[in-house]
C-alpha cells in the first residue's frame, strides 16, 4: 500500500493550517507580487542580472560517473548548471506569524526539491542551488507563508521572534532591515544580512490581526488558538512519547 502522508494530527485551526501548508496538493495562496529582481536584492547574494556564479562546471560537461542514484534522481536546474549553494533565512514572530520554524522546514521538505533546511527557535534557514533558491524564495515571500510585519528575512542578528512587537506592529529587528512606511507598506532598506540597499524594496502591507489569527500555525492563548484546546494533538504527542519510551524507535502496540 502506498504511503499516504497525514501531515500531522489535531482538530484545531492551527493544525489544519499546518496540514494545508505542508500538503503540496493544496495550492499556496498568492497574496503579493514581489518581483524576481526584488527577491534577489533582499537576499543579497548576487546583483540582479548578474550571471549565476558557479561552484562546478555544468553536469553535462562534467562527465558524470555511471551511478544508479544519479539515474533515479533528476538534478534540479541549479544543480545542472553548477550553481553555488546559497540561502534565505526567516525569523517568525511567535505572535501569530503565518509560518514557524519547524513548520517551514516541513513545508519545504514536502514542496521543494534539493533543499537543506535548518531549524532553530528564532530562525529557519533553507539552503539550495542559487537559481532554485530564487524560485523557492518567491513562493516563501509571495504567499500565505509570509507576513511583512511578523516575518523577517534575516541572515544574521535575527533576534526578535519572541519579543513584543514595536509600537507600529513590526517585529523587533535590531538592524531595522525593513520599515513600515507612511503608505502602509513594509519596505526593505537593507538586505537580509544588513547591508543597505540602493533602493527600497516593498514587500506589501502587513496582514490584519484577523487574517493572522486564522492563518497562523502556532498555538498561542493570546493569539486565539490555545494549545490545550486541541486534545487530539496533545494525545498524539503523549502517544509518540510513550511508544518511544517503551519501544525505542521500533514501536509496537
Amino acid at each position: 500500500m502506498a504511503y499516504k502522508p497525514q501531515y500531522g494530527p489535531g482538530t484545531s485551526k492551527v493544525a489544519e493550517n499546518r496540514r494545508n501548508q505542508m500538503n503540496p496538493e493544496v495550492k499556496l495562496e498568492k497574496i503579493r507580487d514581489v518581483t524576481d529582481e526584488d527577491v534577489v536584492l533582499i537576499m543579497g547574494h548576487r546583483a540582479p542580472g548578474q550571471a549565476y556564479p558557479t561552484a562546478h562546471p555544468p553536469l553535462a560537461e562534467q562527465g558524470e560517473p555511471d551511478c544508479p542514484i544519479r539515474k533515479i534522481v533528476a538534478p534540479t536546474e541549479g544543480a545542472k548548471a553548477g550553481d553555488r549553494v546559497r540561502y534565505i533565512q526567516f525569523a517568525d514572530s511567535m505572535l501569530n506569524a503565518p509560518s514557524q520554524p519547524y513548520q517551514r522546514t516541513y513545508v519545504e521538505m514536502y514542496r521543494f526539491r534539493g533543499i537543506d533546511p535548518g531549524t532553530l527557535s528564532g530562525r529557519q534557514i533553507v539552503e539550495c542551488r542559487e537559481r532554485d533558491l530564487e524560485q523557492i524564495a518567491k513562493d516563501l515571500i509571495n504567499t500565505n507563508l509570509f507576513d511583512p510585519a511578523r516575518v523577517g528575512i534575516r541572515g544574521a542578528t535575527v533576534h526578535g521572534h519572541s519579543l513584543r512587537l514595536a509600537e507600529d506592529g513590526m517585529m523587533f529587528d535590531m538592524l531595522q532591515r525593513c520599515v513600515l512606511e507612511a503608505d502602509g507598506a513594509v519596505k526593505y532598506v537593507k538586505d537580509q544580512i544588513g547591508v543597505p540597499l540602493d533602493k527600497k524594496v516593498a514587500v506589501g502591507k502587513p496582514m490584519d490581526e484577523k487574517w493572522l489569527g486564522e492563518n497562523t500555525t502556532i498555538f498561542h492563548v493570546l493569539g486565539g488558538n490555545p494549545y490545550r484546546n486541541d486534545a487530539e494533538y496533545i494525545e498524539y504527542i503523549q502517544r509518540i512519547h510513550s511508544l518511544r519510551t517503551k519501544y525505542g524507535y521500533m514501536p509496537k502496540e
Binding site: 511567535m94 532553530l120 527557535s121 513584543r164 512587537l165 494549545y227 496533545i234 519510551t245
Partner: protein
C-alpha cells in the same frame, strides 16, 4: 491533566522591576530609543575601564559602538536587569558571567580542590603493620599536623620552602565519622559534626551509612588547583597526608609501609568529586565533565537547610548546576566565549522556573495528594507512563501559557533554548518529586520537549534535534551505552555531552527524586557530609544567594594574590 488555579505569580515582581512603568501583559513595546549600551550601568563601567586600559597598554579593546555589527551597538531594545531567583537581589546580566563573579568561580574552585580520603586503611596499616597505637588523641595530633602541612608547610624535612599562610588560608582538612563516641573525642575545630549540621532523620541515616569509618575532607589551596588542575587535588592531598602520617606517627620516611599510606591516599581510599574523561575530552579527575549528577545533587545542601521544601532544594541545584555545567563546563572548557551564560541564567533568574515548579507542586498535591512539604517515601505516586505523561503535560502546558500571557516574560527568555530548558525542568522536577524516581523525572523532561516543539513549532538550537527528540527512547533505559539510572548519568553521558541548558537541570531532577522522599542523600553520603562544612568559602546550602552576592560584589573569594603583587 486539568488546569488548576494558582493566583501567585512568583515572576511578577521581577517583570515589573525589569520593565518599569510598562504593562507586563502588553504585546507592544518601544524599541530603538535606549541609547544602546549606555543604558546599562555595567556596560558604561566597561567603557570607562576600557579608556584607561587602552591608554596604559596602547592596544584597542572594548568598543561596542564600533565593533558590534558594524556600528549598531547592542541595546536597541531594553537591556534588562535580572533578579537572582529566590534572593530578591537584582543584578546586571554581565555580573552573572563567571569571569565577573567571584562567587561562581569559588563555587567551582571549592569542588575542584576537594577530595575525600578514607582514614581506616591508613589506620590499619599503622596498627597492624607498624604496631602503632591509633587513638582519638593520635588522630587529633595527626589533624594538627596535616592542617599545618596541607597548605604547603614542611613536617619532616629540614630547610624547606613553604607557602605563605595568608595565600592558602582556604586550605584545611576536617574529618567525619558515623561513630558518635569517636566524634565526641575529635577536636571540634577538625570535625564535621553530622548530628549538628543535619536534621535529625537525615543525620541518623548518614551516621548509619558511614558507620565506624572515618573520612577526611581535604580542600587544597584554591591557588594550587587553579594553577594546576583538578587532577592535582588528590596528588597534592596525598603527598601532604603521607608526610603528615610520617610526622605525626614518627614513621621512617623511606619504609615500604609509606607506600601503603600513599596508595590509600592516592587511589584505594580517595573519593574524587568526578571521574576522569576519555582522551578525546582529555580532562583529569575533579573536572566538571566527570561529575555524576547524583554526586552533584549531594554537593548542594539546600535539602539539608530546607528539608520541607524539595522544590526549593531542587531549584538551588538547577542554579548551581547550570552555572557549572553550562557556563563553565560547556561554555568555557568545551567551547569558549560569552553566549552560554544566558542559557544558564534563564533557569535561575526572575523566579520563572520557580513559579512553574511550584505550579507543579500544587498540581501533584491537588491531583495525587502528594504532601510535598512533608517529604516521605510513603505518598509517592507509582511512576507509570500515564502518571509521567499527566504531570509533565499539565506542567508544560501551564508554563507555555504563562509565557504567552506575559509577553514580557517571553521577551525575558528570548531564546528558545532558554524556554525549553525551563519548561522541561519544571516538568522533570514535578514528576521526580511526585514519584521519587529520577528516570521518571527525566522522562517527564522529554515529553515536555516534544510537546513544546509541537506547540510552538520550535525548540532550541540545532543540538536539541538530537538530545531532546530522542530522549524519550533512552530515559528509561539502563542498557550500557544507551542509558543509566539518573544518579549515575553525568555531563559526559553520550547524549548529554554537547547541549547547553540541560545538565544542571538533569542533576536537579535526580536530586529532587530524593528530596521528595526525604532521603538524606542522593548518591553519596560522603559527599553530602563533606559539603555541609560551614568552613568552606562557598555556602553550598545557598548557591543562588551566593551567586547574587558575587554579582553585587559582596562575596569574598579565596586564592587572592594581593599579598604578593604591587598595591594598586
Amino acid at each position: 491533566m486539568a488546569k488548576i488555579e494558582r493566583a501567585q505569580k512568583l515572576f511578577l515582581k521581577a517583570l515589573k522591576e525589569k520593565f518599569p512603568g510598562q504593562d507586563v501583559e502588553s504585546q507592544k513595546a518601544k524599541f530603538y530609543a535606549f541609547d544602546g549600551v549606555n543604558q546599562s550601568p555595567r556596560k558604561k563601567e566597561f567603557k570607562a575601564a576600557n579608556e584607561k586600559i587602552v591608554k596604559e597598554r596602547g592596544i584597542d579593546m572594548y568598543d561596542p559602538e564600533r565593533c558590534h555589527l558594524g556600528g549598531v551597538p547592542m541595546g536597541q531594545r531594553q537591556l534588562m536587569t535580572y533578579e537572582v531567583s529566590g534572593t530578591g537581589t537584582f543584578v546586571e546580566g554581565d555580573d552573572l558571567h563567571f569571569v565577573n563573579n567571584a562567587a561562581m568561580q569559588q563555587f567551582w574552585d571549592d569542588i575542584r580542590r576537594t577530595v575525600i580520603v578514607n582514614m581506616d586503611l591508613a589506620h590499619q596499616t599503622l596498627q597492624k603493620r607498624l604496631g602503632k597505637e591509633v587513638t582519638p588523641e593520635t588522630i587529633n595530633e595527626y589533624l594538627h599536623v596535616v592542617n599545618h602541612a596541607m597548605p604547603g608547610a614542611a613536617v619532616v624535612q629540614e630547610h624547606m620552602v613553604e607557602t605563605h599562610p595568608a595565600l592558602t588560608d582556604d586550605c584545611y582538612v576536617k574529618v567525619f565519622t558515623g561513630d558518635s563516641e569517636l566524634a565526641d573525642d575529635i577536636e571540634p575545630q577538625f570535625l564535621i559534626n553530622v548530628e549538628k549540621l543535619f536534621p535529625k532523620k537525615q543525620a541518623e541515616s548518614l551516621m548509619n551509612a558511614v558507620g565506624k569509618s572515618m573520612w577526611q575532607c581535604v580542600h587544597i589551596p584554591t591557588s594550587v588547583s587553579r594553577t594546576c588542575d583538578g587532577g592535582t587535588t588528590s596528588r597534592w592531598s596525598a603527598m601532604q597526608i603521607g608526610m603528615s602520617f610520617i610526622g605525626a606517627y614518627r614513621m621512617c620516611a623511606g619504609e615500604a609501609a609509606v607506600a601503603d599510606l600513599s596508595y590509600a591516599a592516592k587511589h584505594a581510599g580517595v573519593i574524587q568529586m568526578s571521574s576522569h574523561l576519555p582522551a578525546r575530552r582529555a580532562r583529569g579527575p575533579n573536572e566538571p565533565g566527570g561529575i555524576l549528577f547524583g554526586n552533584f545533587a549531594d554537593m548542594i545542601q539546600a535539602d539539608r537547610k530546607y528539608p520541607n521544601d524539595p522544590a526549593k532544594a531542587a531549584l538551588e541545584v538547577v542554579g548551581a548546576g547550570t552555572m557549572l555545567f553550562d557556563q563553565i563546563w560547556l561554555g568555557s572548557y568545551m567551547s569558549g566565549g560569552v553566549g552560554f551564560t544566558q542559557y544558564a541564567t534563564a533557569a535561575y533568574t526572575d523566579n520563572i522556573l520557580d513559579e512553574f515548579t511550584y505550579y507543579g507542586m500544587d498540581y501533584i498535591k491537588d491531583k495525587y495528594k502528594v504532601d510535598w512539604q512533608n517529604p516521605n517515601p510513603a505518598d509517592k505516586v507509582k511512576p507509570t507512563q500515564e502518571v509521567v505523561n499527566d504531570i509533565a503535560t499539565e506542567v508544560n502546558l501551564n508554563g507555555m501559557e504563562q509565557y504567552e500571557q506575559y509577553p514580557t516574560m517571553m521577551e525575558d527568555h528570548f531564546g528558545g533554548s532558554q524556554r525549553a530548558g525551563v519548561l522541561a525542568a519544571a516538568c522533570g522536577l514535578s514528576t521526580s518529586i511526585a514519584t521519587g524516581h529520577s528516570n521518571a523525572g527525566l522522562n517527564g523532561w522529554y515529553l515536555s520537549m516534544l510537546m513544546h516543539k509541537e506547540g510552538w513549532s520550535r525548540l532550541g538550537f540545532f543540538g536539541y534535534d538530537l538530545q531532546d527528540q530522542c530522549g524519550s527512547a533512552n530515559s528509561l533505559s539502563v542498557r550500557p551505552d544507551e542509558g543509566c539510572i539518573g544518579e549515575f548519568r553525568g555531563p559526559n553521558y553520550p547524549n548529554y555531552a554537547m547541549n547547553v541548558g540541560h545538565q544542571g537541570e538533569y542533576a536537579a531532577i535526580v536530586g529532587s527524586s530524593h528530596y521528595g522522599r526525604g532521603d538524606a542523600w542522593s548518591l553519596s553520603p560522603l559527599i553530602k557530609i563533606c559539603f555541609a562544612d560551614p568552613a568552606l568559602k562557598f555556602d553550598f546550602s545557598e548557591p543562588r544567594k551566593e551567586f547574587a552576592r558575587g554579582a553585587i560584589r559582596e562575596f569574598m573569594p579565596a586564592g587572592e594574590r594581593s599579598l604578593i603583587i604591587p598595591a594598586k
